[in-house]
């Protein structure tokens, strides 16, 4: 599954990252997998949220089959 990255993560890691996600997972699993691959950005990932199909997720269980798009959202800073 290609996961979209933005802001500092996109600049340092790339616009997407390929992850092997199980049939069912939670947002934290996604962040943990990226942390393992890129421990240097653990601090940013600890502050990030996960969006599925352009909606923020919390702790709910996510079915892989329902995911069209998944993205990591670092702390936003518009305005």
């Amino acid at each position: 599954m290609k996961v979209k990255l933005f802001s500092v993560l996109a600049e340092k890691i790339g616009p997407t990252i390929d992850l092997n996600l199980p049939d069912q997972f939670v947002a934290q699993d996604v962040l943990d997998q990226i942390k393992e691959l890129h421990p240097d950005y653990a601090n940013v990932l600890d502050q990030s949220l996960v969006a599925v199909n352009e909606e923020y997720t919390n702790d709910e269980s996510i079915k892989l089959e329902s995911v069209d798009e998944i993205a990591i959202i670092p702390p936003v800073s518009g305005g």
């Binding site: 601090n43 352009e54 993205a71 959202i73 702390p75 936003v76 800073s77 518009g78 305005g79």
Partner: protein, 136 residues
Amino acid sequence: MSIVKIVEEPIDVAGLTESLMHDEYGGIDTFIGTIRQFTDEVETEKIEYTTYKKMAEKEMHKLADIVLAKGMDVVMVHRVGELALGEVAVFIGVAAPHRAEAFENCQMLIDTLKKTVPIWKKEYDKDKIRWGGLGE
């Protein structure tokens, strides 16, 4: 008549303000966010904004809909790309029957946008680059 979008070109402040003027509204409040040179000791040279555009516009529409449902008119426009000092990064406007609702809802929109809408700033300061929103 609401306008909600992310743009790459300069924001037309006069045109957007004009779009909020209707006979039924007596109070229009606008917030214009620009690129500031100094934040305490730190001198900024330019800011580059990026976005997750589809999601950002969706989140902006959610906010605008709250205000539209109260019978007011709304403009929310954020610019992305590289912005120089003094350039307009964001324009928020609310037109309401009376001023109190216009002030209150305009402030709610900009305050919430800064917390929920996926837009990021990369600040090019004289001493170094800073990523907005991240604890140092």
